[in-house]
């Protein structure tokens, strides 16, 4: 019997394990999933925590309850992957062998990569940081707020823009907008990676009177003097700083032969196969594919990984429908004042951005509410 091992119990790992379990008969393979956390976390909820628009408890469910009964769940922190001898080692010394492997260990913010970041900057990309930022915003009485991106790539590329629109609305509601100077910084010479969407977002920022500082590559945060400095030599003062930290792939992948120094796994953008290994696939945030690190990407990649893995195991060709990932991305963008827009695109077609409206926001909220029922179990 073949042994299938899935690393990570987030959006990608949970979904792909369930899809594989559905496709294969029990006697064909045993499926094991390793996760550092016993909870399955839905991170998009974190965007709303700083504004008290949602509750941190609604962002997670026990992972066990979302997995097909035949999947064996192992809880533990992976510290080593040896792809040559097909073995994974956990922090407690446990070793697990595999025949087929899926890497879906996501990405994580790495504030320690920027001097002064941990002491001086807020963010909302972890449970704790989002909750701390809620308190800071609650206590904010006016001054300079700087929101920015401290390194590329990072997950959910639209979240810093969404945060800016939401904080602007929040300040308005609290009658603090007149007393606040709001600035948005970005490492490129536009406000977003994708050029066509950047122009649109810039217009919206300008309409809301947000100052824009592009080509700002964060070099250091100086909490004592309350300023940030960029590689380009720009200095910006702040009273409240909200920065997306640089990101990395899981620690055990950083410098592993299947990945680069940052932990991004070398992955074929169509087959999702890991370069040089016929029995390993990678999906979600951890890949080095130059595409958004977004839950929707992982969601659309999962059927391809499941189809290809099963076909390899059975020595058949993958069914045409899910043979390749075409680069599909769907991102909702909160634009404040009860409205949202969305970006939908793939490798061939650049995004079109509809005018922000209430219907799209409703779609986003409903999707977030229905997420646990619909996505990890593979209902949609």
């Amino acid at each position: 019997m073949k042994r299938i091992l899935v690393l990570g119990g987030g959006i990608g790992g949970t979904l792909v394990a369930n899809l594989i379990a559905r496709k294969l008969k029990k006697e064909e393979a045993e499926i094991t999933l390793i996760s550092a956390s016993q909870r399955h976390i839905y991170q998009p909820v974190w965007l709303y925590i700083p504004f008290s628009m949602d509750d941190i408890r609604s962002a997670s469910k026990p992972l066990k309850n979302l997995l097909n009964k035949r999947i064996k769940l192992v809880l533990g922190n992976i510290t080593q992957l040896d792809a040559g001898i097909q073995k994974v080692t956990l922090e407690d010394g446990q070793q697990i062998d595999y025949d087929f492997l899926v890497v879906a260990t996501g990405s994580h913010p790495s504030p320690e990569d920027v001097p002064g970041f941990k002491e001086g900057a807020h963010f909302f990309y972890t449970e704790d940081s989002a909750s701390r930022l809620r308190v800071a915003l609650e206590e904010f009485r006016g001054g300079k707020i700087v929101v920015g991106v401290g390194g590329l790539p990072h997950k959910c590329p639209v979240a810093p823009l969404e945060f800016t629109f939401l904080v602007e609305h929040f300040l308005n509601k609290r009658k603090l907008r007149d007393k606040t100077e709001l600035t948005y910084t970005y490492p490129l010479n536009r406000v977003f990676t994708i050029e066509s969407a950047a122009g649109y977002a810039q217009t919206l920022l300008e309409q809301r009177n947000v100052q824009i500082e592009t080509f700002f590559n964060l070099e250091e945060v100086d909490p004592e003097n309350k300023v940030i400095r960029s590689m380009e030599g720009t200095e910006l003062p702040y009273d409240l700083l909200v920065m997306i930290p640089p990101h990395r792939g899981a620690k055990f992948l950083q410098g592993n032969p299947i990945a680069d120094e940052q932990g991004w796994v070398k992955t074929n953008r169509n087959t999702l196969q890991v370069t040089g290994f016929d029995n390993i696939w990678a999906m979600g945030d951890t890949t080095d594919i130059p595409i958004s690190k977004a839950g929707s990407v992982t969601h659309f990649e999962a059927p391809v990984v499941a189809e290809r893995l099963v076909a390899t195991l059975r020595k058949t060709t993958p069914h045409k429908k899910h043979a390749e990932y075409g680069g599909k991305v769907l991102c909702f963008i909160e634009t404040g004042y009860g409205t949202a827009t969305k970006l939908e695109f793939d490798y061939q077609n650049p995004p079109k951005t509809p005018k922000p409206n209430r219907m799209i926001r409703l779609e986003k909220i409903l999707f977030n509410k229905a997420y646990f029922f619909l996505v990890p179990t593979g209902r949609i």
């Binding site: 590329l152 490492p187 490129l188 010479n189 990676t193 080509f215 590559n217 030599g233 130059p290």
Partner: protein
């Protein structure tokens, strides 16, 4: 352009904007004063974006050179 010696080269062919620009930024960040960094890009946008960033960051753009499947762009770290 040929004959420029560089300290570090990053081959970013096959990645799309902002990949090559970010590679340039990363390389300049991690190298020493006086070093020359070369980035090879197959993305047309890089020929505009990379020199624009070098100018903004007050580094020295040494030019570009056509190579198979793209361009090699050079930057000297001067500050």
């Amino acid at each position: 352009m040929q004959g420029i010696t560089f300290t570090k080269e990053v081959d970013a062919r096959g990645t799309f904007c902002p990949g090559p620009l970010m590679e340039m930024i990363r390389a300049v960040k991690s190298c020493s004063l006086g070093d020359v960094v070369a980035v090879i890009s197959s993305d047309e946008g890089s020929r505009k974006d990379i020199p624009a960033w070098i100018e903004k960051a007050k580094q020295e753009f040494l030019g570009e050179e056509a190579v198979t499947g793209g361009y090699r762009l050079y930057c000297r770290k001067i500050k």
